[in-house]
Amino acid sequence: MYSFALFNKKARKTMGKIGLIIRREYLTRVRKKSFIIMTILGPLIMGALMIVPVWMASVNVSVKTVQVLDEAGLVDGLLTPNDNIKFVYTRKSIEQAKKELEASDYFALVHIPRFEDNDLNHLQRQIKLYSVEQVSLSTKLFIRTQIEKQVERLKLQSQGVDQDLVDNVKKTVNVPLEIIPLDGKGKSDVEVNTILGMFGGILIYLFIFLFGAQVMRGVIEEKTNRIVEVIISSVKPFQLMMGKIIGIALVGLTQFLLWVVLTGSIYSIFMATVVKDKFSAQNVETILKQSPDGTSVDDIDQIKETQEVIGRVNSINWGLMIPAFLFYFLGGYLLYGALFAAIGGAVDSESDTQQFMLPVSAPLIFAFVMAQAVLNDPNGTMAKWLSIIPFTSPIIMMVRLPFGVHYTELLLSFAMLILGFVLTTWAAGKIYRTGILMYGKRPTWREMFRWLRY
C-alpha cells in the first residue's frame, strides 16, 4: 500500500513535468497567427480545390469555330455544337479550305472525303482534323464523339434501325449493380469506397508530414536557441521529446476537429439556406407527385441523385472509419514523429535535414504511391502485407477500410503499429538524447546507429 502510494506520487510528479511541456508546446502553437489562419483557410482551400476546376471549366468562354468540309455528306448540318465549340460548314476544295484555315481565325478543319466505295468502315478512317493550334484532348474527344454519333446513325439506318428508338432504349437501360457482401453488413458501394479510401489516405499522409515536420522544427529550434540543455537539467530528454510529440499531436487533433466543426457548419448553413427549399422532403414529394404531368425530367434526376448521395454517405460505417482514422493518424504520427524528432536532434539547422529526411519519409511516400494499386485490389497480397508493416499501414489501411477488412487483419495491423511506434520511439529517444548535446557537426548514419548503444 505504501509503495503504491509512493509510486503514485512519483508518477504524478513525472506526469506533471511532461504535462507542463505538453502545455507549452500546445499553447505556443495554437496561439500562433498561422494556426488560426490555417484553421479558417483549411476548409476554404478544400472547398476551393473542389469548386475551382469545375468553375474554371465553365468559365472557359473562348468559343472555337471548327470548319467542316463534308464531301461525303455524312454529317452535313447535323453536328451538335456546345458552349465552346461551334461548327460551320464549307463547300470549298480541301486546298482552299486549308489556306483559309491559316488565314482566318477558324480553330480547325474537319475533312470528310468523298464517299467512294460505299464502305463506311473505310471512310471513317479517312476523316482528318487539320489544325494550326494545339488541339486539347477534350476538344478532340468532343469532335470525335459528334462524328461517331453520325456514323453510328448511318450504320443503324443501313440495318433498318431507327436512331430515336435506340436513344429511347438507352435512356431506360440502367443497371447499378449493387454489391451485397455475404457477411450481411449492408450494401457496399465501390465509388464511395474509392473516394473515401483515397481521401482518408491523403489526409493521413498530409497530417503526418505536416505535424511530423513541426516536431522536427521544434527540436531544431530548441537546439539552435541553446535552451535544450537548460531544460534537460530539469526533465529527462525522453520526457522533453515525448512532451513535444504529444503536444503537437494535440495541435493536430485540435486543427482537425476545428476543420470538421467549421466544414460541418458551413455545410449545414449551405444546406439550410441554398438547398433547403429545393430538396426539402415536402418539396421532393410534391415534385415527384407532379412528375407525370409536367415537371421537367432534369429536376427529378437531380433529386434522385441527391438522395442517392445522401444515402451513400449514410451507408458508410462511420463508427469504424472515424476511430480507425484517429488511431492510424495518431499511430502513424507517433511513429514518424519520433523519427523526425531524432533527425531534428541530430542536426544543427534545418538545411542539414535533407539527407536524413528522404530515407525516413520514403516509406510514407511509397505507401502513398501504392495506394492506387491497393485501391484496384484492396484485399490482394500486397495490400495485406503493406497493412501489416507499421511504416505503410496507416495510409494503406485507410484506403482499404471502406472496402471491408477482416477483424483479425485489423487487430494485427493495430498491434504491429503499436509495436512499431514503441520501437521507433525508443530508438529515436536514444539518438535524440545524444544528438541534442552535439553541436557543430553533422553526424553520419553510422554515428547515429552507434548512439543507439550509448
Partner: protein, 313 residues
C-alpha cells in the same frame, strides 16, 4: 569540515563508444564551499557535470547527493547554467521564466512570487511581456541567470560562467553567486580559464584527459606547490643586496631604476623568509615583499608534466 559533502562521486567511468570521457574520477564537494572544476577543453568537465545533472548516466561508479545516492528528484535541488545556454527566442520573458521555474518543481504561486522579487532586484519589471528576441544579449543573460537560481538550489553548477557574459554581467553574477554562497548554497565552477575563478574557490579539482589529476583545498594545494619564490621592492644598492644574499637565495630577475630596485628570488637550502630578512635588512630599505603564489595553470602544467615523466620513466 562541515560533515557530509553535498555531492560526492566515487570512481566514475563514462565512455562514448571507444572514447573515454571519464576514468575513475572521484571527488567530494563540501557543503557551502565554492568548488572549481578545472582543466583544459575536452578534459571531461562537462561530461562530469552532465552526470551530476543526470542528463547522462555514468557507465559505472557511485554518486551521492547530500549523503544519499543521487535520485531523479534531486534535479530540483540543483541549478545548472550550461556552457551552451540560451532561451526560447520567440517566447515572452515572464511566461518563459514561469515555465522553466515550474519545470524545476516550483508551484505557480511560488514561481511568480520569486520571479517578481528577482525582477525587482535587477530592475527589469518592464520586460515581463517582451520576447527574448527583443532583448539585447546582456539583458537576456540576466534572465538566464535568474532562471538558473530562481528555485534556490542547494547546489549551483556553472559551466564556463564568465565566457559569453559581458564584463558588467560577469561582475553581477560573481556578486550574486557570492551572495548565494553566503546564504548557504554550494557552487561548482567549471572552466578551462582557471585564472577567472581561482581566487573565488575554496577547493578545486584538476581534470586532464578524462582523469582527475589533483584535488583538494586551494590553500593546501598552494602550500604543496609553493616554489619559495618572492618579489621584493627596495631602495638601496643592488650589488650589496646581491652580496648579502650570498648562497641563501637565487636571484631570478632584477630591475633597477636609480636606487629603486625590484627583484624576484628563490630561497635555497632550507632558508626561511626570516633568514632572508636578517640577511638583507642591513643593506637596503624594504618597500614591499610578496610571495609569488603559483597560479592554478602553473600547478596544472607542473602536474601534467610530472605525470608524463612518470609515465615515460
Amino acid at each position: 569540515m562541515h560533515g557530509t559533502p553535498i555531492f560526492e562521486a566515487r570512481s566514475v567511468f563514462k565512455n562514448y563508444g571507444a572514447y573515454a570521457a571519464l576514468q575513475d574520477v572521484s571527488l567530494a564537494v563540501e557543503r557551502g564551499s565554492i568548488f572549481g572544476l578545472l582543466g583544459p577543453n575536452g578534459a571531461g568537465k562537462t561530461s562530469l557535470i552532465r552526470i551530476i545533472n543526470q542528463i547522462t548516466a555514468p557507465d559505472s561508479g557511485a554518486l551521492f547527493f547530500d549523503g544519499k545516492p543521487l535520485r531523479p528528484e534531486d534535479v530540483n535541488r540543483i541549478g545548472y547554467l550550461p556552457e551552451e545556454r540560451g532561451l526560447y527566442r520567440k517566447m515572452q520573458v515572464g511566461e518563459q521564466c514561469m515555465y522553466l521555474a515550474r519545470l524545476k518543481g516550483l508551484s505557480e504561486a511560488e514561481a511568480k512570487k520569486k520571479l517578481r522579487s528577482w525582477f525587482e532586484k535587477f530592475e527589469i519589471q518592464g520586460w515581463w511581456n517582451k520576447k527574448i528576441e527583443e532583448l539585447s544579449k546582456g539583458m537576456a543573460q540576466k534572465v538566464q541567470f535568474i532562471v538558473t537560481v530562481l528555485h534556490e538550489p542547494e547546489l549551483l553548477i556553472l559551466d564556463e560562467p564568465f565566457t559569453g557574459f559581458d564584463p558588467v554581467n560577469a561582475n553581477l553574477i560573481r556578486d550574486e553567486v557570492l551572495e548565494l554562497r553566503r546564504k548557504g548554497a554550494t557552487v561548482i565552477f567549471s572552466t578551462h580559464r582557471m585564472e577567472t575563478v581561482e581566487e573565488l574557490c575554496d577547493s578545486i579539482a584538476l581534470i586532464n584527459k578524462s582523469r582527475k589529476i589533483l584535488d583538494g583545498k586551494l590553500i593546501d594545494i598552494r602550500k604543496q606547490y609553493r616554489t619559495l619564490t618572492y618579489r621584493l621592492e627596495f631602495t638601496g644598492n643592488l650589488i650589496s643586496f646581491t652580496n648579502a644574499l650570498w648562497a641563501g637565495a637565487e636571484l631570478l630577475e632584477k630591475k633597477q631604476d636609480g636606487d629603486h630596485c625590484t627583484v624576484t628570488l628563490k630561497l635555497l637550502g632550507g632558508n626561511t623568509v626570516n633568514n632572508l630578512f636578517q640577511a638583507i635588512l642591513p643593506v637596503c630599505e624594504l618597500i614591499s615583499f610578496q610571495e609569488l603564489i603559483p597560479s592554478m595553470s602553473d600547478v596544472f602544467i607542473r602536474t601534467v608534466q610530472q605525470e608524463s615523466t612518470q609515465d615515460h620513466g
